[in-house]
């Protein structure tokens, strides 16, 4: 294989991987801290995508600018959902295992609701728009400009988020809660806020990722679920509860997905599922798992 082809696959894989990493970190926040394995995570991606799409089509707003709008909207929705549904569910559950089970089921319910609402609002027709789709030369290979920009923004968002986690008080509270909720509470962290914010941030990252994907891919109410699957796999790959791990997991999946695409296009999803199942059987705690 020529080094150029290899580089091409690598960069292409990282482009998707960057987005997957954002999405995976979002889910990891929701599961690692709030202990909700949110199977409706992909729906927040979809909402972000539709928000950006609508703003572009209706008001001509630059998709990259719309991040400022779509992000907070999705964040608020996520936060409210946690406060109304999952917080209550947590109180009602007799054990953590019971909560994980019932919140998983509840998030399936959310998935149906959000998808159906989206179908009602926007209809089932595939939508899309064109933005920065001009090809650009990068390291000898040709890519659409929007993909490069998306990767750039994903990295940017990642860096901002990293500083948020490391340098701010709220970030420290979140990291503490991710390690040990009880101890964090004893140290004065207002845990209810933190859980809700984590869930919200998870949704935020999903929404932003969705906005970015809308530049490159079709937007439909059903687009979310495949991303959810990838996020779950990435989170398990990196180790349930390990935020950095899920980021790496997302990158790896992006690379693998691209490699499989070169070998046999139709098999990406099957490859993902196989990796997932084998991972669970062999090392469920993941690569960096505790």
């Amino acid at each position: 294989m020529s080094p150029l082809l290899f580089l091409d696959i690598l960069i292409g894989g990282l482009m998707m991987g960057g987005l997957y990493a954002l999405i995976a970190v979002g889910l990891s926040l929701q599961y690692g801290v709030a202990r909700v394995l949110n199977v409706s995570h992909g729906e927040f991606i979809m909402l972000g995508a539709f928000a950006t799409y609508s703003l572009y089509i209706l008001f001509g707003i630059n998709p990259l600018l719309s991040l400022v709008v779509s992000g907070p909207i999705v964040f608020i929705i996520g936060f409210l959902i946690h406060r109304t549904l999952f917080k209550r569910l947590r109180r009602l559950s007799q054990s953590l295992d019971a909560f994980e089970g019932s919140s998983l089921l509840a998030s399936f319910g959310l998935l149906f609701i959000i998808q159906n609402v989206a179908l009602l609002i926007w209809g089932s027709n595939v939508k899309g728009y064109s933005y920065l789709s001009k090809p650009v030369n990068f390291f000898g290979a040709v890519y659409a400009a929007n993909r490069l920009v998306a990767l750039l923004f994903a990295i940017l968002i990642g860096i901002v988020f990293y500083f948020f986690l490391m340098r701010t008080r709220m970030g420290k509270a979140i990291r503490a809660a991710a390690q040990d909720v009880t101890t964090a509470q004893l140290m004065g962290v207002n845990i209810h806020w933190v859980l809700g914010l984590c869930f919200g941030f998870g949704a935020l990252l999903a929404g932003l990722a969705g906005s970015l994907t809308s530049m490159m891919f079709d937007v439909t109410p059903l687009m979310g679920f495949p991303y959810t699957i990838i996020a779950i796999i990435a989170v398990v790959l990196g180790g349930l509860g390990n935020i950095l791990g899920s980021l790496i997991g997302g990158l790896i999946l992006g690379l693998i997905g691209n490699i499989v695409m070169y070998i046999h296009p139709g098999l990406s999803l099957i490859a993902y599922y196989l990796i997932f199942l084998l991972l669970l059987l062999i090392k469920p705690t993941g690569i960096l798992g505790k």
Binding site: A106, F108, G109, F112
Partner: protein
């Protein structure tokens, strides 16, 4: 003794069975199909709860086993008589479940659940890929069977499922399975072969799912993987069991009956809001009915008692 509660219960069950057996002769075709549907969901719910209820291992793979039954009927329907087809559907599911169980029943709680879901989806995507690329089809035609025959087949299966579930629950194996759900380590140390028991119970439960699938296949005339392995068949039984009351077979069957009728009504009246309402019901049930309809009776009693006390105190 002739008038004991047990005898009366047995008598009423017998009468019910006779009534159900007479339905195809006197009822409208729509009723026959509706009842067949209800029987199917009772089978799925009760068999799901047979394993997942006491052990607390929530399986989301029911769609996989149900779908295998459907595909067994689609492939074997032309070559074998119906009872054999139904048995094959159940048996192949049973074998797959043994395999799945052997590999995955070491996984705890959440991991097991997402594993079963991933497995179900993998099977769906894989069969889709295989059919398109290897067999050269997208879907398959299913041999037509008289709805009345399907009704009787389903009635037999649901009776079998209920009887097996009932006797397992009352037997020492039912007790052991409950023990496993409470503490696997303790169960292991008092002589219960935990792994074997989990796997076998899981496999038995899937037999009925496969049999139900093979029976119902004819309903669709034309099937493809997205129909046969629809994830909805994985967590509708969960929803129904929670809704009716997981702890008792009666609750599980009740939940299946009520929600099937409800879903039927919703689908005809609000076809565009179907999933929305489904999701809302799912969440309401999880939040407000953790003990199901069966538990509701108890909760109402407690609530009434609380009200009465408050009244007496004023």
């Amino acid at each position: 003794m002739i008038h004991s509660a047990k005898f009366l219960r047995l008598l009423s069950v017998l009468i019910l069975i006779i009534l159900f057996a007479l339905v195809p002769r006197y009822a409208r075709p729509y009723t026959i199909i509706s009842l067949t549907s209800i029987f199917m969901y009772i089978v799925l719910t009760v068999s799901w709860a047979l394993f997942s209820g006491p052990t607390h291992y929530i399986s989301l793979a029911s769609a996989a086993f149900f779908g295998i039954g459907i595909y067994a009927a689609a492939i074997l329907g032309q070559k074998l008589p119906l009872p054999l087809v139904i048995f094959s559907g159940g048996f192949i599911s049973f074998l797959l479940a043994l395999l799945v169980g052997l590999s995955s029943l070491r996984l705890r709680g959440m991991y097991f659940t997402i594993f079963t879901f991933g497995l179900s989806e993998l099977i769906r995507h894989f069969i889709q890929w295989w059919e398109v690329n290897e067999t050269g089809t997208v879907g398959r035609w299913v041999i037509q069977v008289d709805p009345k025959v399907v009704y009787f087949a389903m009635l037999s299966i649901v009776l079998m499922t209920l009887v097996v579930a009932y006797f397992i629950k009352r037997s020492k194996f039912g007790l052991a399975i409950r023990g496993i759900g409470e503490s696997e380590e303790a169960a292991d140390h008092i002589g219960i072969n935990v792994n074997a028991m989990k796997i076998i119970t899981f496999a038995i439960s899937t037999f009925f799912m496969g049999a139900a699938g093979a029976t119902m296949a004819t309903r669709w005339t034309y099937i493809d993987p997205s129909i046969a392995f629809n994830p909805l068949y994985s967590f509708t039984p969960v929803l129904m069991a929670i809704f009716g009351g997981m702890g008792q077979i009666f609750g599980q069957a009740l939940g299946a009956t009520v929600l099937t009728l409800l879903a039927d009504m919703l689908l005809t009246k609000f076809p565009y809001y179907y999933m929305l309402l489904y999701g809302v019901i799912l969440i309401i049930v999880i939040l407000f009915l953790p003990n199901g309809l069966v538990g509701l009776k108890h909760e109402i009693k407690l609530w009434l008692r609380g009200m009465r006390q408050r009244y007496e105190n004023t």
